[in-house]
C-alpha cells in the first residue's frame, strides 16, 4: 500500500521508509509541509503520516488544508507533543489517529494498516463479521462459532468486534485501549492482556483451531490460519 511520510527529520524519515518497505509497503517521503501537501493533494496514497512540526507548513495546517480541499486520505499524526490536549487538537484538525514520539515501529505499522483499511466514506457498514467458523452479528449482538453460541460480556463483544474489523492485521494494546475503552492514558499494568485472554478462553479454548493470536512485541491478531 502507498504511504506518504511527511517528516523533516532525515534519520527518522529514512528509518520509516526502510521499515515500511521491509513491511511490504511503498513509502514516499516529503521533507517539508509544502512538498508534503502537494504530494498528498495529487492523491493516490492509502495513508499519510504527518509530523506535527514541519518546515514551511506545519502538520495541522497541512491536514486542515487537505480536508478543506475534500481530500480524505487517512492521516496519522506523529508528534513529539504527546499530551492529551495535543492529541485532541490533532484529531480536531482532521487527523484520523495520533501517535506520540518516541513510538515503537510495530505500533505505528499496526495503526497505519488499520487506518488504510477504513471503509471508504459513505460505504455501508458491515453488519456481520465472519472469520472461519466464527460469526459476529452486530445487530443481534450474537457471536457463534460453528453451531455453538458464545456468550460475551458487552466489553468482550466490543473487543472481538474491533479485532474482527482488523482481522489479519496486528492490533496493539494501546489501539485496543483507545478503541474499545476510549482511554488514552497509560493503564500501568497488563490490563488489556487479561481482557484478551478472557476473550480467548471463550472463543478459542473449546475449539481445535485458535483464531486469536498474540504477536510478540506488538499486540494481537485475529486470523483464520487455514
Amino acid at each position: 500500500m502507498r504511504i506518504l511520510i511527511i517528516e523533516d527529520d532525515r534519520d527518522a524519515a529514512a528509518y520509516l521508509v526502510k521499515a515500511f518497505r521491509e513491511a511490504g509497503h511503498s513509502p514516499d517521503h516529503a521533507a517539508d509541509g509544502v512538498t508534503g501537501y502537494d504530494l498528498a493533494h495529487e492523491g493516490g496514497y492509502d495513508v499519510a503520516i504527518v509530523d506535527r512540526m514541519l518546515p514551511k507548513m506545519d502538520g495541522l495546517s497541512l491536514i486542515s488544508a487537505l480536508r478543506a480541499q475534500g481530500n480524505e486520505t487517512p492521516v496519522l499524526i506523529l508528534s513529539a507533543l504527546g499530551q492529551v490536549d495535543d492529541r485532541v487538537k490533532g484529531l480536531r484538525a482532521g487527523g484520523d489517529d495520533y501517535l506520540a514520539k518516541p513510538y515503537a515501529f510495530s505500533e505505528l505499522l499496526a495503526r497505519v494498516e488499520a487506518l488504510a483499511r477504513r471503509r471508504p466514506k459513505g460505504a455501508p457498514e458491515e453488519t456481520v463479521y465472519r472469520l472461519g467458523d466464527l460469526k459476529l452479528d452486530r445487530l443481534s449482538h450474537k457471536v457463534t462459532r460453528g453451531a455453538e453460541e458464545i456468550v460475551l460480556q458487552p466489553r468482550e463483544f466490543r473487543l472481538l468486534e474491533y479485532l474482527l474489523q482488523n482481522a489479519g492485521k496486528v492490533v496493539t494494546r494501546t489501539m485496543l485501549l483507545e478503541h474499545v475503552w476510549d482511554y488514552h492514558f497509560d493503564p500501568q499494568t497488563n490490563v488489556i492482556d487479561v481482557h484478551v485472554s478472557r476473550l480467548r478462553a471463550k472463543i478459542d479454548r473449546d475449539f481445535d483451531k485458535p483464531l486469536l493470536h498474540t504477536v510478540r512485541g506488538a499486540g494481537y491478531m485475529i486470523r483464520d490460519s487455514a
Partner: protein, 464 residues
C-alpha cells in the same frame, strides 16, 4: 558629594521641592488676593473721600461762584494731608491748588483718573493719585484727588510678607526634606543591601521591617512573603531535579549495562536479540517516567485545560473498575465499585482517568492483605457530597503511616517495602497534580485496615 547628589535625586527630596513650590504659589496667590481686596477697599474709600470733598466744594461754588470756590480751594490746599486740588481756567492756567505738575491732557475728560503728579516742580519721586475731574461752567476745570501713597505702602507690606514667608517656607521645607529623605534613603539602602545579599545567593536573607507598619514596611513584608515563596519553589525545584537525576540515572545505567553486557560477550544472535529487547524495555520505562513527569508539570501549570469539557466521573470510575477487574481477579483481589449516577465535572477526562487508574494500580500493587491474613479487596466509589464529587479508592493492605501521608505525594517518593517492586514513584504525584488542576484535593486516610485515597473535585457548575 556623592551622598549629596544621591540626596538630590531621592524621590522624597524631589517631592519636598515640589511641595515647596506648590506652597509658594499658594501663599503668593493668597497674599495677592488679600492685597487686591485691600487695595479695592482703599480705592473705594478714596473715591468716597473725593466725592465728599467734591460735594463740599460744589456747595461753595453754588453759593459764591468761581471766586468763592477758588478761595475755598486755596484755604484747603494749605492744610497738610493727602488731598490734592487744582482749579484751572479756560486756558488751562492754574488758578488755585497744591499741585505743581500734571501730565498734559489730564484734565480733558470728566470722571475718575489714576494719574501721576508732583507737589513741587522737579520732585525726584513721582507721586500718584486717584483724582476726579469736573468741568465747570465758563471752561473752568476742577481736579480733586487723593494721594495713593497708602495703597503703594499696602502693596509693599504684602510683597514683604510674601518674601519672608517664602524664605521661611524654604527653610522649613529644606530641613524637612533633608530629614525625611535621609530617613527614607537609609531604609531603602538597608532594603537594597538585603536584596543584593539575596541575589548573591543568601536566600535566607529577608528585607528589614522597621515595625512602624508604614508603606515601606508593608512593601518589605510583601516582598518578604514573595521571597519565602520563591525559596520554597527553589528548594522544591532542587529536590525535583535531584530526584530526576537519581531516578533517571538508575534506569539509564541499567540500559547502558545491558548494552555493554551484550557487546562484551561474544554471543549468538539470540543473546543479542534478548539484550536489545531489554534495552527497548528499559527505554520504554524511561519514556513512561518522562511522560509522567511532563504530565505532572503540565497539570501543575494548568496547561492541559484546553481539553476541558463536562464528563461523568462516575462513568470513568466504573469504566476503570471494569478495565481492571480481570487483572484484580488474576492477582486474587476482589474489585468492587459503587458509583452514583450523574457525577458531572468539568475538566480533562484523560487526566482524571489516569489519576484514578494510578490509584487503582497502586491499590492492586501495594494493597495486598494476605500476609496479614486479611482479605484482598479493593473498593472504588464515586459519589456526590454537597457541591463536590468524591472518588474513593480503598484497599485493605498495610496502609500508609500517618507520618508518610504528605510525603508520598512528592515526586519519586517510594516508601520502604515498595522499592523492590516496579514503579516510578510518580503515580500519586500525578493524581495530586490532576486533582489540584481541577481545583480539587487528594487526601489519604486510614481504611482500618488499609489505605483509603480520597479525591474531592468540585462538581460541574459549582464555584471553584
Amino acid at each position: 558629594m556623592i551622598a549629596l547628589s544621591r540626596l538630590f535625586r531621592a524621590t522624597a527630596f524631589k517631592l519636598t521641592l515640589a511641595i515647596l513650590a506648590l506652597s509658594a504659589i499658594g501663599s503668593g496667590v493668597v497674599l495677592g488676593v488679600v492685597a487686591w481686596q485691600v487695595i479695592k477697599v482703599v480705592d473705594e474709600e478714596t473715591a468716597q473721600t473725593i466725592d465728599a470733598e467734591a460735594n463740599g466744594l460744589a456747595e461753595q461754588f453754588n453759593q459764591g461762584g468761581i471766586r468763592r470756590l477758588g478761595a475755598a480751594i486755596l484755604a484747603r490746599s494749605r492744610e497738610p494731608g493727602p488731598t490734592i486740588y487744582l482749579l484751572t481756567d479756560a486756558a488751562g492756567q492754574p488758578l488755585a491748588g497744591n499741585i505743581a505738575q500734571l501730565p498734559p491732557g489730564a484734565l480733558d475728560n470728566e470722571g475718575f483718573i489714576d494719574t501721576p503728579y508732583a507737589l513741587t516742580e522737579g520732585e525726584p519721586h513721582p507721586r500718584r493719585a486717584l483724582a476726579r475731574v469736573f468741568a465747570l461752567p465758563g471752561g473752568f476745570h476742577l481736579l480733586i484727588g487723593h494721594d495713593l501713597g497708602d495703597r503703594a505702602r499696602i502693596g509693599g507690606v504684602m510683597i514683604h510678607a510674601l518674601a519672608w514667608s517664602l524664605i521661611f517656607l524654604a527653610g522649613v521645607a529644606a530641613l524637612g526634606a533633608l530629614f525625611v529623605t535621609r530617613r527614607v534613603l537609609k531604609r531603602i539602602d538597608a532594603m537594597n543591601n538585603s536584596a543584593r545579599a539575596i541575589m548573591a545567593g543568601d536566600l535566607a536573607q529577608r528585607l528589614p521591617v522597621s515595625g512602624s507598619a508604614d508603606e515601606l514596611d508593608r512593601l518589605a513584608e510583601g516582598l518578604n512573603e514573595m521571597l519565602g515563596r520563591i525559596a520554597d519553589l527553589m528548594s522544591g525545584l532542587k529536590e525535583v531535579s535531584d530526584n530526576i537525576a537519581h531516578d533517571l540515572r538508575t534506569p539509564l545505567t541499567r540500559l547502558r549495562n545491558h548494552a555493554e553486557d551484550a557487546l562484551r560477550v561474544d554471543g549468538e544472535a539470540a543473546n543479542y536479540r534478548a539484550a536489545l529487547e531489554r534495552t527497548i524495555e528499559e527505554s520504554d520505562g524511561l519514556i513512561r517516567i518522562f511522560d509522567a513527569l511532563l504530565l505532572i508539570a503540565r497539570a501543575e501549570a494548568g496547561a492541559a485545560q484546553t481539553g476541558g469539557q463536562n464528563f461523568d466521573v462516575g462513568a470513568v470510575v466504573s469504566g476503570l473498575a471494569e478495565l481492571y477487574e480481570p487483572v484484580a481477579e488474576e492477582r486474587g483481589f476482589a474489585l468492587t465499585a459503587q458509583v452514583e449516577p450523574d457525577l458531572t465535572i468539568s475538566g480533562n477526562r484523560e487526566l482524571i482517568g489516569q489519576a484514578v487508574a494510578n490509584l487503582v494500580d497502586n491499590a492492586l500493587k501495594y494493597g495486598a492483605a494476605e500476609e496479614n491474613g486479611g482479605v484482598n479487596a479493593v473498593s472504588l466509589a464515586a459519589r456526590r457530597e454537597g457541591t463536590n464529587i468524591v472518588i474513593e479508592v480503598a484497599d485493605q493492605g498495610p496502609g500508609v503511616a500517618q507520618s508518610d501521608r504528605e510525603r508520598v505525594f512528592d515526586r519519586f517518593v517510594r516508601l520502604e517495602g515498595s522499592r523492590s517492586r516496579p514503579g516510578s514513584g510518580l503515580g500519586l504525584s500525578l493524581a495530586a497534580a490532576a486533582s489540584r488542576m481541577h481545583c480539587g484535593r487528594i487526601t489519604l486516610a486510614d481504611n482500618a485496615p488499609g489505605l483509603r485515597v480520597i479525591v474531592t473535585l468540585p462538581a460541574s457548575g459549582a464555584a471553584p
